[in-house]
Symmetry: C2
Subunit: 226 residues, 2 copies
């Protein structure tokens, strides 16, 4: 076998990992996070109980492992949707709408997911969450940067703080919705009005400008490096 760059050991590990994550995903969605026991996940993936914990330190780590890829893809989807709108405000709102639409498919799971993003217990988890946050901030910031490019914002507009503020506002209201303080229509209203506030008095009339004068974008924020 020439093509097998991986030994049997590595192959088996990869395979088990795949089965465990798939089983966990299915069960979390079917029965909920709390109601799913680690033993059920083990049974469904054909391994012994203890084996699950050699692939994820805790059940919570498993949750992050399971949804990391999916959420990273979600950020890209949200970004693409948002670019179809023409004004910055609508772009940012559309970006968050796409993410909320995803969470709304399974609100109990979204709650647990959000809790885990806000309470990082293990280094493995920190890495994954950090990566996710970095992608999200990066894409959000790009929306702001594009807006400065097309002159909707002034050239010296601080895109990184704006992206952080927009996300912070979104996150606060998402939490309020997931914890039952507000419902979806209220969420939509307050998110839009608070984003409006954030941008109020900062927008330009689009003015033709010289692109070459703007410095390259390389602002990094504390959540963007792994």
């Amino acid at each position: 076998m020439v093509e097998a760059a991986l030994g049997r050991r590595e192959q088996n590990k990869l395979d088990k990992r795949r089965r465990i994550l798939a089983a966990a995903r299915t069960l979390f969605m079917r029965k909920g996070f709390d109601a799913t026991t680690s033993q059920e996940i083990a049974d469904a993936s054909g391994v012994a109980g203890g084996t699950v914990f050699t692939y994820a330190r805790t059940k919570e780590d498993l949750l992050i492992l399971v949804f990391h890829e999916e959420m990273a893809a979600l950020v890209e989807t949200a970004f693409r949707s948002s670019r179809r709108r023409k004004s910055l405000l609508k772009q940012v709102a559309t970006f968050f709408d796409a993410i909320v639409a995803y969470h709304e498919q399974d609100i109990p799971l979204a709650r647990v997911l959000m809790r885990q993003l806000g309470y990082v217990a293990s280094p493995e988890q920190r890495g994954l969450v950090s990566d996710l946050m970095g992608r999200l901030f990066g894409r959000l910031e790009q929306l702001f940067a594009d807006a400065t490019d097309r002159g909707e914002l002034s050239a010296d507009f601080a895109t990184a703080p704006a992206a952080r503020a927009a996300f912070a506002i979104y996150y606060l209201h998402l939490g309020a919705m997931l914890n039952g303080y507000i419902d979806r229509p209220q969420f939509d209203r307050v998110l839009r009005s608070d984003l409006e506030f954030l941008l109020s008095g900062r927008r330009h009339e689009p003015v033709p400008r010289d692109h070459a004068l703007r410095p390259a974008h390389k602002s990094r924020n504390h959540l963007s490096d792994p």
Copy 2:
């Protein structure tokens, strides 16, 4: 006995509750939240294991019960400190500094506390968290309202969205610090610069104005009612 408006039953309950909360507080601070068992709390307060759970549905509820009063008082302390500063920006920064200073005394506990504020499981908890958030938003908003009163912000400045945005930014960075993404100096820097961004271009030169023209402040936000 004329003064004992409470029957023996109520007295006993109150007394047990007091002992349980005191024991929980001590143990959470001495050993940490996770390392403290519900049995230890029961032993330290002279009740049986099961009794603890008639006063708090879960260990997490107990945590909120224990720190609710203390955090409400903290908000008032923070508010009073903040009023000693003259500019709005410094006031808001001082307000958050006071809260951070409190959390820094016991960071592991602050982490757990923050997790619980962001993931409300029981109705009892929702009530307490909601109350706390209401107080905090109320005080923050008051700082903004005072700034409009003295003409630092324009009279039509939206204080409620501003208070929410400021809190959201603070909360995001606090989480970043508690989860180990940034250290305290970085936190201070990024919080100040992001608050600066939030207020940039919105401040007035103080101008003498007619106070009677401003409508009374009664803006409520979704986190402020119990």
